[in-house]
Symmetry: D3
């Protein structure tokens, strides 16, 4: 099962009361209003170029068939092939995928890399499928969208509910279709299949770069700064390890089960050993144990919100 | 401008209070419940295999660009290439297109022809575009969906707001892409480009076949039966002409402007001459002139509801 | 499981002591010697144009992977697309497939249809795989040879160890790859997917046509002729039923378990009911019961050798 | 005619008593047994993914046609496009090609380059064909396998019986098919067509690198070491020249005709001049002349077995 | 060698003083002027859609290479795939090919078949090439234009200097490129490869149909009419044989060498036997022998100008 | 409108009395004669591999259609994809395009880059078309030649009468056809779409490099050298600016309207400001004003002939 969510995108699904697509458009509109763009150009920038919804047929282990809705939205490909993850989540829906695709276009443009924005997803709870069902789901989903993805068109990546194994299935399905190995069709694949080194800790490292840039902009000396980390998954734990290595003092860490606090500084590597054994930071002996909400009240110089 | 709507599909958009896709699914569900199908199979039959939404960029005569939403839904292609019209209408939306695609699957299966069901549309009022804009819109829309249509895949046809000219542009766009003429990519194209003879009066002729079948089933002698025709567009006028030729007595005809009534029988060819001159049946001298609602109260053996 | 072998090709594997390919070549050589063909032309007629061997990876239900050898041999395609079955048999091997492909070329040419000859197979005992494993095997095998088959290239059909269900998987796999339904890629598919009526009894009917032609050539009156049928599978049972309908008297039938004999004539429909219940003709009450070898000693006008 | 065999692969065909494919498998099995791999994985690693045998029709200068068997085996392409030579040899056969393709997979994996393993061959004696026949043979052979080779799929190279001219014909045939020059489809092509510098002496240079590595590993000082070279073709002569340049003393050289010996050291450039004139090292005046077997008995520090 | 010119197109190259393309345009212009077409439409009808000139490289038997100019002009493909012959002639040139392609468009449109017009040619004297050179020329020429021909695009046919053998080479070249036999790419191929029966005498039969139509239109009784045939190649001899069979009296026949005259009527089958033996009608014993020009002065009811 | 001609190729059309293709061939022949090439090889080097002429249909703003002749000549692609501009000029013709394509082959080969030579053009005066007409013309022209261009085949560039906007339309048309952005299909596109920095001044910079090389070869010190620039378009103005920056003294500049002269040196940036305001160098106050012919008589060390 795919249970190590990569969670590299900010999850903007939390507030169900507001449609995420409308929310993303509101923000974009306010920016475009400031720029005095013409109405046609505003629509051109906002509307996804292509949104595909497919019915993904899966034969369950029970022998029954089930159908899942899948999407791939290509928001904009003017600057190059589109980039964007594929998420497997029971609440995935077209509006959410469109909003995330739009953000991918903007993210790629802002950092100046020659890629456009896309996003995909399947409305499924991956924890409720066996590995065989998940493989069948992935392969069928990819076959349904196979003509619009590719190294020069649109390159998926892992996202919530998908991981390197799912990318390997995608690469294999695409390669079977072409008749030869096409590693360039996905990023985030296993290193043995051509994946990039350093990808796992990349999001956490990005958090660190943001912090260092902010400190530099504000002229703050980084010596002896204290850090609180909310969430200790892929992002939080890697950010903590890198900051620790740079000399920051990690004073508190929380996860779903609780929070730990040690004013003189925690060793995130040791905390991680504890997490691997117990599944949570809670109960870590070399620190005070608190409820997870209490982390917000602890003193620190830098607070990292890395919970899902 | 494209203003001779072919209107060959029943417009199920009239009651805005109920979503047409939900309505179509409700009906299908009640049939599938009766058949005791498994939940997976019911989903398989109901869910469209592929729904594509595209942003159609059009350079207006004013020099500005505008963006229109377009769709192509391929509901089911198991029995052969999908068939289904393309409609241009300001109220077109994804749920409506899905519902109409589902109905196309069922219609093709019921009459036993080796085709699946599809439907397409663009959210645009074709009367508000110049012919050049309409051509540009059509060509760009087709380029966005060109990889999923084709003689062996999915074959569009005219529908509300589109006509033989639009089909000619589609055929030309598709043929340019392939490098040679591909008349099989659309039906409803001009006869000079390979269109079928008899297509214009086909829907009206279908109405007549239905009437004749119903009479036969109920053992009713067709001699001297009187007919009322509500609506005198493509469907109503052709049905009237064919029935007239078969000896039926056309006693009343209505359109948006009014109704005419002649108990001894109208000659639909003469009425049509009047319509061509004046734009309406109202004011036809050789008959009584009534309001359009009054046609429902006139005595007749057969009533044809052929208004949009 | 696929256990209703279609068995439509004469199995020339019985004598393991002689390689079937050499045997087929010997016979062809003797014919070509008679025709005084040049050495180059003889090689051209004999050698298969293309023989492909692939490793078919299957994930077993146990989670392990296993590899099966598969082949597709295209002997000659000069006269049109190649035709030839796909067999699943534990003794399948390249030389056998080559020999059968050569025979397909000759068979198609002899009856004057515009097709060439091919043959395929996988070295596997289909009875030892679950249906899911068999489906996975079929789909992977087809993906490995997908670029050399197709309606204009090479059209598989059922053979020993494969059936209409396997053809349906092949058609689906090929259609997924193309993006639309391609029923022309296989023959012998289920009728609901576009299969031909009358295919199941076609081999048996061919036996009957051969008998009728032989009688005509020799000027034998067909009235009251008695028939012995060795083997009561697809071929034998259908031949018996058709001959019975034409007035022939079916006096004896055998299968693996035994033989039955009734000088006044058996009703093959009733014998088939017995076979469906018991799995064999042996024990049929309305006839004498013998050992299977004894059928060779029974008097008859026509003997049909239809055992595998 | 192609008579400057590149001979870069060790010819493992010498002992006809043992099938080379079985021999290669035996060795691989013993390694895999040590690694305790599962049976399925062992088969997966061993079995070639695809083996294609084609009949290559050639119109001879005499006007007759002749047919040659050709093969291309793609053993494994998981790590990237397959690499592997094409050999023209009268004893070429499927098992040999399979064995060499397996070795290519292992060789590419061992040195860590992103390529898989393949091999091809035609059962023909290239010395018995005119250049025109050889060109026709090459072009037809390539057309028969054109869909499975290519820069992203499988990239042939020269091998026994083929050379840069043959590669040029392959590149031209492939380029004609694509409609534009595709230099990436073969390696070992003429430098004027995009071939790599240094390729001719590459195998000899590899021998030298192996020697230098072995000396380093064993801590042996390379000063004044004496070298015997058995075989003075492409490999032996280039290794000798490079070692000579590095200060090694070449004390003896042999070829099919005989051996030469000079304890104070031979100048391989001068020996090569002699070979170009006479076709053999035998008879070289500035050294002792021996029979070719005697080279094994001469004293030396390093012995290079570079005979075919 | 290709020396049985099919000569089925009227050769409009005879008068070198006037460019054939200009001549064809002049005639078309005068028709279009009569029809009062707009200038744009006139250009659209007149200008070929695509004209391709290629350099055809041929390796001569001498080992030298030579280059020949080849063309394919696709005049109009609106009504369906283009049809048009390929001619090999030392005087072939782009303007001539364009003119003949234009005429093909008009011919196909006039007889109402769903084909457009094209024409091709190579500037070469086929009598000066060996068969091998001619085959190489044909294959290379076809490879250069292979992307614009095909059963749905443009279908060549024999013309001056080409014949069924050349069509077979074209079909083989195209089929090699596609990977399977494509008989629909040319007409005029050998019957054994799928060519049409009756094609050889088709042009002569067309002459006869024209004569019979003319007689019918003018109300002339065909009994006892006398016929003079100028030219006794494919067209003239077949027309003569068919008319002879219909009861016409063939009174005179001429060819390059001379003319024969027999007022009581010649038997064209016997004349043909004489031609096969001697290469000319001249010297035929059962008739008067004249110079070839004298045929114009002989009395006859019908004169058939069938000389090249 | 496209009126900033890039003019980067030497216009060899000036002398209408001699056909440019013949002229280019004459020069090439004299070189090849010197090299003693065989007749076949000379033809091979001279003849363009493929010349395509297409009819480009454009719907004018008036609603009428008009047809323009367009060409693309691929002279030689042996060394890699062809490079060559597309020119829009009322005098464009096939012979000129062929000659320029031949020169492109030679230019690419001389500087040793892996590209072949091509050239394209449309016989149209771009100043007489509206921007919409020019866009339609460009898109249709590209669709007619779309199968022979591409990043691996033939890569157009701006030339006389075309500019970055035309290249953007070409890139968009090609990308629509492929379904994803293909910036590699043209050079000279806008920088925002992936165009190269420094392209605009590249031709002028090349002039400067030539001057500096010549000075170096002749051992001339560049200090205080005076420069006359005939023509002040893209080439002349950029050369002047770069030389000015290197310390050369620009003493005179001319254009179509006149010439200016200032022995102490002109500031080309200031002259350019004047040109932007007035459209000509004539009337520039800080210099003597002369007729354009007088520039030939003014004293200078370096004369740059940069007029069209």
């Amino acid at each position: 099962m795919v249970n190590n969510y990569s969670g590299k995108d900010i999850n903007i699904m939390t507030d169900k009361k507001q449609n995420v697509w409308d929310m993303a458009c509101d923000r974009l509109d306010s920016v475009m209003d400031t720029l005095n763009l013409t109405p046609g150009l505003k629509k051109y920038i906002k509307e996804p170029r292509k949104s595909v919804e497919v019915a993904v047929t899966v034969k369950k282990d029970s022998g029954d068939i089930d159908i899942y809705k899948g999407w791939r939205v290509q928001h904009n490909m003017n600057r190059g092939p589109a980039k964007g993850g594929i998420r497997y989540h029971p609440d995935a829906n077209l509006d959410e995928i469109k909003a995330l695709a739009l953000l991918m276009t903007l993210k790629c443009a802002v950092v100046g890399i020659p890629f456009g924005g896309a996003k995909g997803g399947v409305q499924v709870d991956p924890k409720k499928l066996s590995e065989r069902e998940l493989e069948n789901l992935t392969r069928r989903y990819i076959f349904e969208i196979i003509n619009i993805i590719g190294p020069e068109r649109d390159i998926p990546a892992p996202d919530v509910g998908t991981n390197a194994q799912v990318m390997a299935w995608i690469m294999d399905t695409y390669s079977i279709d072409k008749g030869y190995a096409v590693p360039g069709v996905v990023t985030g694949k296993p290193i043995a299949l051509g994946g990039s080194l350093g990808r796992e800790e990349a999001t956490g490292r990005g958090v660190v770069y943001s912090i260092l840039s902010a400190l530099k902009v504000h002229g703050i000396d980084s010596t002896n700064l204290s850090v609180s980390v909310q969430g200790f998954g892929n992002v939080g734990s890697n950010a903590a390890k890198i900051l620790y290595g740079l000399g920051f003092s990690i004073v508190s860490i929380s996860d779903v089960e609780g929070a730990i606090h040690k004013p003189s500084g925690l060793d995130p590597y040791k905390v991680l050993d504890h997490v691997i054994k117990t599944g949570t930071v809670a109960g870590y002996r070399e620190a005070d144990n608190l409820s997870r909400e209490e982390i917000f009240a602890l003193p620190c110089d830098i607070f990292i919100p890395a919970a899902l």
